[in-house]
Subunit: 479 residues, 2 copies
């Protein structure tokens, strides 16, 4: 009762007055029998073997996800780090019912050829309004993977244009490119980092270094990989070791650039502020500033992949704001928490020198940009980034205390990083059992890497939810 | 007046009673001043240098597209071969306003992990209901490019699994794949055809062979290309030469398979029923049956790319139905006329042997599948495929007559192929002038290849529209 009264004054309580105060479990296990049956049905036509349960989105609300058995689970996974504003958010519902949305859904434009009259306004109000310093242009794509791949294309075209100068394409380039051969097809590469994840299409998958199962049997470009720091926790106990580890990685990064590849052969690097699929691996501002310095020195573009980290969960709108870089990155890619589509920011120099080079039929989707605009507006109007930072600061010490009490649960990370928090178990089996048991206790929670658990709640996840989460974790650890 | 009365009894007249009876031109040229101004605004933040005009979708109706100057143009380009049911179709509007749509927009699911309870039904009623014989599974992606790339991944995994048998991945594979090296990363390839277009991401672009500008400066896989027949028109005058040309291409195709690559190194071929971006190049059923026979003989998968040809415009629901293949293709990819997303059909053998291999965060988008279902239902309920076949048969001889009268306009193709009709001009300049003049006369029409014009009207394009189109073409040719 007290909790309900407190919640009435919270942002989440105002947005979702009917949100459950705790999980409600109907079936004796999750997934329940109706979920299993529905999933079997779906499995006859669609590859659904990764399904946790079949979801009743209509019955989900705020931070609670419902399955078809009627269970209501506190969701700290949120469609793999999406759902910024909670399920069935009333502002998003209003947006979905708007004439602008309906028009955009039923008349899907080929945006680069026949841009809609309101597209500039939608992009300005909802996407570019969120742009970090130095980013004046946005490219609109359809997923995180294709945001990254179109960013790679921009990087390759930019570097080639710089070498070519004012010359036009020559005959040899025009001929060889149709055979997928050099010089028309580029020998340049994108460098990514060990354990990074950047998507699953052929170019993005070539930069993904998370797990073999993501990559096996798929052809890949012979592109370079550099080490990403493996930090030790708690950070304050390993300051010196961690600094050495980051410097070791920076040195190896520069060695690869100088020794393994021709000058200017590395068009760009791509790096996540936190390697999410790869196990929620953090590095310090020192490391990222080092990357920026080295890329500038060698004339290599720096792409920051904020597909999972972007849009508020880290306690800043963009996670890379934590670095206070002296020079901004060249491109920033993003997708998930804008619940859709994929985008990259850049400055105007990254626009190819001719039209129809960064081009495709759709070039994005206005219906997704309209959703993103509402999410941006709700975040700013309700100060959700700062609130997420505060909730993270409330939650982290409680988890740290649990970690002290239960040795099975360690390497807690994400301090002062909003709710973007993670920890490890010793073995994958232990981690997987933990995730399963949490669902049986009414909390939907996800893993990453081999042994990690990651928190990815909504931006309306508040102290009351954090209390529930901590209590459930403790109950499961005790069990 | 007579035209309006006749239209009242047509499907289009019933669906769009207020559709204009002819183009309405307000500004002295297209694009008009408001369009130019709006496009300049958009250009400050988005690469829009390919724009024809800035579009007022709200004011567009049926077969007519409106720009911001208030011009209404008969649209036979339709967002590059999309917009199956016309602008602001009332059934699609109803769908866009439905609770199901609103739920899907505001709670975007990670479909493979948390499938929505109605997803099986949506896929069954709206996508698989349209499946060609032998196709029991659908994979849902987000664009034509990623439909093709996920199909390639399925092909690579299928062929590798066949070689590996019941063995698990070995240590060498698991290690090498993280370095993007063989054997974990595959040396297998996808073969595509000269002038084919299959998308613009890194894997799909490696199979795209349309124009240098699509490919320059982007790294590409060293994958094979085979010749596609160059037919002569009119077909009935060149029966023997065309047969020889197709046999030449089939022989060269088999030679490449046998001589240039290791057995089983070519995992799949991908081919369009009509090479659309590459210039609307047709081939006969004989050629495609030959491809099917040779792929079966050499144990190579056959992927048919129906991204542009699929969903009715050819006078059959799938253009490859024109071939009457003795064995169906292994996969069929599609997107545009379902106004969204991307999909591939396959049989169950093409599903990878483990979960999380064909996988990503979104795995499609229910809001797009809901749109596709309505499009499918409208097509079947209104018999739009047969009607499009009839309109094509009405239009083609009129264009043939024009081609006889005006020698500048030749190689007319697409007979008995619905409204999927195209022709050539001698030079790119002539073609481009023609397209520009058509817009000045109120018809929005598109090119492809270097010298071709392609017709891509809606499936509600009827004889009255065809008359208008023919009259306008003649007026422009005369001018």
């Amino acid at each position: 009762m007290l909790r309900r009264i407190a919640r009435a004054y919270s942002t989440c309580g105002k947005v979702f007055p009917q949100e459950p105060v705790k999980p409600q479990l109907i079936s004796s296990s999750v997934p329940g029998p109706l979920s299993v049956e529905a999933n079997n049905q779906l499995g006859t036509i669609f590859d659904n073997r990764a399904a946790y349960f079949v979801t009743d989105y209509e019955n989900s609300l705020g931070n609670y996800i419902s399955d078809v058995d009627g269970n209501l689970l506190l969701d700290v996974y949120c469609q793999i780090s999406s759902i910024a504003l909670g399920y069935n958010n009333p502002s998003l519902k209003k947006t979905a019912q708007s004439k602008e949305m309906i028009d955009s859904l039923i008349n899907r434009p080929a945006l680069a050829c026949f841009p809609s009259k309101n597209y500039a306004q939608i992009l300005n109000e909802g996407i570019l309004a969120a742009a970090p310093p130095g980013m004046s242009k946005v490219w609109t794509a359809l997923s995180g993977s294709c945001a990254n791949e179109t960013a790679y294309k921009a990087a390759f075209m930019y570097q080639a244009a710089k070498e070519r100068g004012l010359l036009d394409f020559n005959h040899e380039e025009l001929e060889s490119v149709m055979q997928n051969k050099f010089p028309g097809s580029s020998k340049k590469v994108i460098l990514s980092f060990e354990n990074g994840f950047h998507g699953r299409l052929f170019g993005s998958l070539s930069t993904t270094r998370s797990k073999p199962i993501h990559k096996l049997d798929i052809p890949a470009f012979n592109w370079p990989m550099a080490p990403f720091p493996k930090l030790k926790y708690p950070l304050n106990e390993f300051t010196q070791e961690n600094l050495q580890e980051e410097d070791r990685c920076l040195q190896e990064f520069e060695r690869i650039i100088k020794n393994d590849w021709e000058p200017h052969q590395i068009a760009a690097i791509i790096v996540e502020p936190v390697q999410s699929e790869g196990g929620d691996n953090h590095a310090s501002a020192h490391f990222f500033q080092g990357l920026r310095d080295i890329t500038l020195k060698h004339d290599i573009l720096m792409i920051v992949d904020e597909v999972q980290t972007g849009v508020g969960a880290s306690g800043k709108f963009w996670a890379h704001e934590h670095w206070n870089l002296t020079n901004p990155p060249d491109m920033v890619t993003f997708s998930k928490k804008f619940q859709a589509a994929g985008f990259y920011f850049s400055d105007e120099n990254l626009q190819p020198n001719q039209p129809f080079r960064q081009f495709n039929t759709w070039c994005g989707d206005p219906s997704k940009a309209i959703i993103a605009r509402t999410i941006y507006n709700e975040i700013t109007q309700n100060d959700l980034v700062n609130k997420t930072a505060q909730v993270g600061n409330y939650l982290f010490p409680k988890l740290a205390k649990l970690s002290e009490s239960y040795g099975s649960f360690f390497n807690l990370r994400g301090e002062n990083f909003g709710t973007f928090i993670a920890w490890d178990f010793k073995h994958a089996d232990d981690r997987n059992k933990f995730l399963f048991k949490m669902r049986q206790q009414g909390v939907n929670i996800g893993g990453c890497g081999d042994v990690s658990v990651r928190l990815r709640p909504t931006l309306l996840f508040e102290e009351s939810h954090a209390d529930l989460l901590v209590d459930t974790i403790e109950a499961v650890l005790k069990y």
